[in-house]
Symmetry: C2
Subunit: 500 residues, 2 copies
Amino acid sequence: MDIETAKKELLALQRKLAAYGHAIGLIYYDGETTAPKDTAENRAVSLSVLTEEIYRLSTSDETVKLLEFLDKNKDELDKKERRMVFLMLRDIREMQKIPMDEYVAYQELVVRAEDAWHRAKEESDFEMFRPYLEQLFATQKKFAAYAAPEKDPYDYCLNKFEEGVTKEILDEFFGKLKAGIVPLLKKVTAKPQVDDSIRFGKFSDAAQEKFAYFLMKTMGLDLGHVGLSTTEHPFTTSLGSHNDERITTHYHEDDFVSSMYSVIHEGGHALYDTGSAPDLAYTVLDGGTTMGIHESQSRFYENILGRNRAFCKFLFPHLNEFFPGEFDGYTAEDFYRAVNKAQPSLIRTEADELTYALHVMVRYELEKKVFAGEIEVKDLPQQWNALYKEYLGIDVPDDKRGLLQDSHWSSGLIGYFPSYALGSAYGAQFIAKMRETVDVDKCLENGDFAPINDWNREHIWKYGSLFTPAEVLDNALGVPFDAQYFIDYLTEKYTEIYDL
Amino acid sequence: MDIETAKKELLALQRKLAAYGHAIGLIYYDGETTAPKDTAENRAVSLSVLTEEIYRLSTSDETVKLLEFLDKNKDELDKKERRMVFLMLRDIREMQKIPMDEYVAYQELVVRAEDAWHRAKEESDFEMFRPYLEQLFATQKKFAAYAAPEKDPYDYCLNKFEEGVTKEILDEFFGKLKAGIVPLLKKVTAKPQVDDSIRFGKFSDAAQEKFAYFLMKTMGLDLGHVGLSTTEHPFTTSLGSHNDERITTHYHEDDFVSSMYSVIHEGGHALYDTGSAPDLAYTVLDGGTTMGIHESQSRFYENILGRNRAFCKFLFPHLNEFFPGEFDGYTAEDFYRAVNKAQPSLIRTEADELTYALHVMVRYELEKKVFAGEIEVKDLPQQWNALYKEYLGIDVPDDKRGLLQDSHWSSGLIGYFPSYALGSAYGAQFIAKMRETVDVDKCLENGDFAPINDWNREHIWKYGSLFTPAEVLDNALGVPFDAQYFIDYLTEKYTEIYDL
């Protein structure tokens, strides 16, 4: 084999994998947005076939030979090609350690588990979901042991979402957050609560949808390449390449703020994905590098920008265009304060910036304990409720608003949650750096996201998965990650709002 | 190879093909319903990869050997297995004659052509679509010559949609229809026109959607397995198997009747598909046998049932539930007459039962002439308009309402249109037979579709693709197909409505 042919084959192989990814991603997306309710069986059957095809393609002698040849000749590869070969070989070597039938069975399990989760959540009945969740945890543990027997199995899971992260690192990280957040929250709750009545009223789905498109346009999304659908639990996905991106939301008729921030959050993911350099399309480098960095972008747009006072000021007059008459007697400042009301609550996705990390910690602790064998899956509801009491001081009334609230576990995304807290913290450090060269508040007050997006594109987005999270942070910041930025950001913000 | 193993492999192979079909069908469906507008490129890339995979799988030595082995031992196969082997071998032998790169390039062409058609239709600019349509016709001709050099190429295209049909048969069929319909239409147009003002008003998308679901439930569709979406040009598709069926519609704010009948039409397709016996799922026998029989069901529900007086009587009081106040002063009889107003018009899908076949004839004549080399693609707009003048006596104001109105050609469905007219005629013969044992009018007056659906299920649906169209007709009717039933049906219906 000569090197030029091998490089061409490397691109052709990734194009093939991208097409399978498109098909599989679309089947999931369809299941979560459009599919009639009793059709999960069909999706399970088709996904098992397509997953088997991917497994065969990825682990075939031809593929492995190609990648090993390129790996051996890595001096003749550019940085992008080296990273492609590294990522693919890493994943394939892990895949090869998992027996194909188990690998395929797992994909089927996920479809059935998602279906069971939807039904269980509707009925607020954990028992309907329990057998699936047990299998999901058991399979993840088994796969971790196959793929990386030298590693702690939960560390292995964490690494799938944030390269380089371990329990040790997270324990320290969350310890620091807790030490910063808990006393701050205590001070906040001792103060008179802000009035958030502005967010409640009657907001039709149609009006909220129009508002959602306005937000998408304002934040700089290209609507020719980014679509919006509705779903139970909002998420974002790329289909085939970053040129086809889908975000999703969920409308609450009595509260427009919920969908508003889910749109901005998912829009942040979409900006990151669609910001990949054009030549990354149809390669494994396309889209964001890890979930931690991904969440740093989504939560950056949702909170640091979306819950910024200047942005609320920009947005307020527009609210009346979409929901006429709903905000009579309120001011932009009322709006800003309402969307920054901090209080212990039940639902993670609806939580304010201050308490959010506590919701994540609950999930992290529980995953860690299940992996360590300290608790069993059947104990999760009771343990969940106990931790909500301990960390947030509140009683969980039912599983629907308890551990059935998130879709992640049903999709097999165990180890994902810490990415949200890491992302929030990365974001606080990014904004500090960005403010050195961009007048962020002025941009937001004008609804002009271009300078902000340009900074993110230049420092983060355009590289896709070329860099590890540590490299991304280093590129953008020039100094190592420091959680103190996040604590300072929260302290400053809530001290001002609550006059602490 | 032993026969039992081979039979199992036959099922596994079909399951694989069904999964690829699911992926490809969903990518198309997504493109027509949900995808952002500038994402056709991604779909083209992914479809070309997936089509190549299907081509490789279908024409592999392993597959061909398996099917030939089963074909040689067909005495040991049951009827279903024999039909599976026959259909698959037939398609694969044709596929093998088409070079893979041309086969794959064609699938990409279709995606781009669909995209170009949407844009061309929006601008009413045939030139934007012309280069694609030229390539589509040229490729179809070339493929026909590859696959069946012994056949007339247009006959080959026709056969893809209605097994056993030729130009000769259709010339006779359409000649008969023309002889029956044209004089009848003349008599109708000489009479005072019926008042169809009842259909016009203001009907929100949301209300029309609710009404659509009511219609779907009424006609006996299982909403757990049949979904509804919106699109430019309504169509129906199965995803993976008949257990996941999607219909689509298009809402016009000023006229609720348009979407209503598209829902019933597509619902008829969905009833047929979802009526396949459960064990046909994930096999090539799943779903309807040919487009002619398929259209016999869709047009049966749309027209013979949907535009029946008893059904209009049942429906009328319900209309007020969905569109309150819109029908004050009207009667069920007004509704019946309005939806049966017969007059030459521009748009096929909106045409009444009487003139509908004339719209089809225009398309049939044009396809035939392009294939015969008598006209070129660039002449189509002018030829289209001339035939509308000749057959329907009307002037076509623009290409949007002329030859850009249908999506079929852009999807490569050349030879499809005659199925609509054949289906309409089959349906007239089915209803005559059904009335021997089912009190159709009483069922419709009660909104009770069960006895009607049972008849169709027992005689047609449950067999999927087990039989040829001729066999389906013979099974259900016991006598050969006779177009006279359709002419008699139309004559009786319109004589009564227009008091001829």
